[in-house]
């Protein structure tokens, strides 16, 4: 049994910051001929390395545009890093954008199965868990309503319920609990704490210093794509606030 849940090794992410997006053929050919195809490079992440033990919790803090979400996307496999590697041992539940896979024209019931499939769960498993999902989301009155008629909070509730239906080994949470009313936020936090107590590893992005200190043991401070500080949550938070 390995004790590392996640190791991020020298991850660098570079985007072509095309000033005018060259996405048509004519433009591409003209620029190729004129040799103007040099894009401005933008480094969203520079040489980030850290490891997370099983059961550990890490908060990622930093200003807007410092690369927090990019890092989470690299870890959950949505984007492939330009350099470096990410090794994950175990299942990941990315709570990055809740309900991203919802089809607006389908009903809540149909979306539960569709979203479950997007996350890679099979139909039989989803059928078993269906009641539990709707229970947690408190949406029994709306199961046959198309999702386009849902409020943002309702859709987020459904998304959270689906994404947390398994107890994942690694939970990735990106500032999502800002939607939903107070009661539901508390419910989500309780569920997350429960998962942590069962040994899940947490990766958490938030601007709320209070929640970071409450949920996480360690913290990583990103500044313009560089790791500025990595240490215990209290220390890093305090340094971040003073900067």
């Amino acid at each position: 049994m390995e004790s590392t849940a996640l190791s991020v090794d020298g991850v660098t992410m570079q985007f072509n910051l095309a000033k005018e997006n060259v996405d048509n053929l004519k433009e591409y050919v003209i620029r190729k001929i004129k040799r103007q195809l040099n894009y401005e490079k933008f480094c969203a992440l520079r040489d980030i390395s850290f490891t997370l033990e099983k059961g550990d919790s890490l908060a990622i803090i930093g200003k807007n545009g410092s690369g927090k979400s990019t890092l989470l996307k690299v870890i959950s496999g949505i984007i492939r890093p330009t350099a470096g590697s990410v090794t994950v041992n175990g299942s990941i539940a990315p709570l990055i954008e809740l309900g991203a896979g919802f089809d607006q024209d389908l009903t809540a019931r149909e979306n539960v199965f569709l979203n479950g499939a997007v996350l890679g769960y099979d139909k039989k498993f989803m059928r078993e868990k269906y009641d539990e999902i709707i229970d947690f989301a408190e949406l029994w009155d709306f199961v046959d309503v198309p999702v386009k008629n849902f409020s943002t909070g309702m859709a987020a509730r459904l998304g959270f319920s689906i994404a947390t239906i398994i107890t994942p080994e690694i939970l990735i949470v990106d500032e999502i609990l800002a939607v939903g009313d107070h009661d539901f936020q508390v419910k989500c936090e309780n569920k997350m704490s429960e998962m942590l107590s069962r040994g899940a590893t947490l990766l958490f992005v938030s601007h709320s210093e209070e929640k970071v200190k409450q949920l996480c043991r360690r913290a990583l401070w990103l500044d313009h794509g560089r790791a500025r500080m990595l240490g215990s949550a209290d220390e890093v938070c305090d340094a971040y606030l003073q900067a």
């Binding site: 996405d23 996307k73 959950s76 949505i78 990055i96 991203a100 896979g101 089809d103 389908l106 890679g120």
Partner: protein, 258 residues
């Protein structure tokens, strides 16, 4: 390789979910629903039969069946490739937020178009019955041309969807290509009216070969030759290989252009 297979097995549920979603939403809110898959080709065939038996005289025996077979095959290919082409672009929100094998998107579109096509074969059954066309055991080989059609449209769909992300012009250009391809397919004319040079060009059109085989088993009551099968198989393999390679090579870049 086994890792790919494992991924595919894990996500095959997603593939079937997406296919059934497409079929469900296609006719949602229309009163006749799935019936449109049958009615649409039937009505088109009626119009064209009237046009071609009065305005442009032709001497194709059993024109309704001749035209309907051509139209069904070509429309299936056109719908599959067209929807597959824009599948990655239109699902950009999903690709940016969740990890899943991206090829599922164009493949599911090709699959949905194929299911729709199989449904519209009911129209063919109706017309075969109305025109009292006799069929033979050869019809049991019907799955062959259908399989080739599915493979070729999946391959072309993969290829187009990967290119369209990089160059959006493809979306507009492909409409023209499809029109050219339609005239290069003997949907409403017999191949014999073409001069030799044109016939040479048509022989590079994979849809022509599939259509020939389809008509073979449905109307001409003959078993398709080994050569015809090899030609269709060759086209299928080339389309799939080119499609998969292009897609695999480009898929990591998608997120930068969406």
């Amino acid at each position: 390789m086994s890792a790919y297979l494992k991924k595919f097995i894990q996500y095959r549920g997603l593939l079937s979910q997406l296919v059934s979603k497409d079929i469900k939403t296609k006719y949602r809110r229309s009163m006749l629903g799935y019936l449109w898959s049958v009615l649409n080709p039937l009505m088109m065939m009626m119009i064209l039969t009237v046009v071609f038996s009065t305005v442009f005289r032709n001497d194709i025996p059993n024109f309704p069946v001749y035209f309907l077979t051509g139209q069904l095959i070509f429309n299936a290919f056109s719908e599959a490739t067209n929807t597959a082409m824009s599948s990655v672009i239109s699902n950009s929100a999903l690709i940016k937020k969740v990890y899943f094998p991206k090829y599922i998107l164009p493949v599911s579109k090709a699959g949905a178009a194929f299911v729709n096509f199989v449904l519209s074969l009911i129209a063919l059954v109706v017309v075969l019955a109305l025109t009292k066309t006799s069929i033979s055991w050869a019809i049991l080989l019907l799955p062959l041309p259908l399989l080739y059609l599915l493979l070729i449209s999946t391959g072309v769909g993969l290829f187009l969807s990967a290119l369209a992300v990089r160059f959006r012009d493809i979306v507009h250009l492909y409409g023209v290509v499809l029109t050219a391809l339609m005239y290069l397919t003997p949907i409403f004319y017999p191949i014999t009216i073409l001069p030799d040079a044109a016939r040479q060009i048509v022989s590079f059109n994979p849809i022509f070969h599939i259509l020939e085989m389809f008509r073979c088993v449905v109307m001409y009551r003959t078993v398709p030759s080994l050569k015809a099968n090899l030609v269709c198989m060759g086209f299928s393999i080339i389309a799939l290989c080119v499609g998969m390679l292009t897609f695999k090579k480009n898929q990591d870049q998608f997120i930068l252009y969406l």
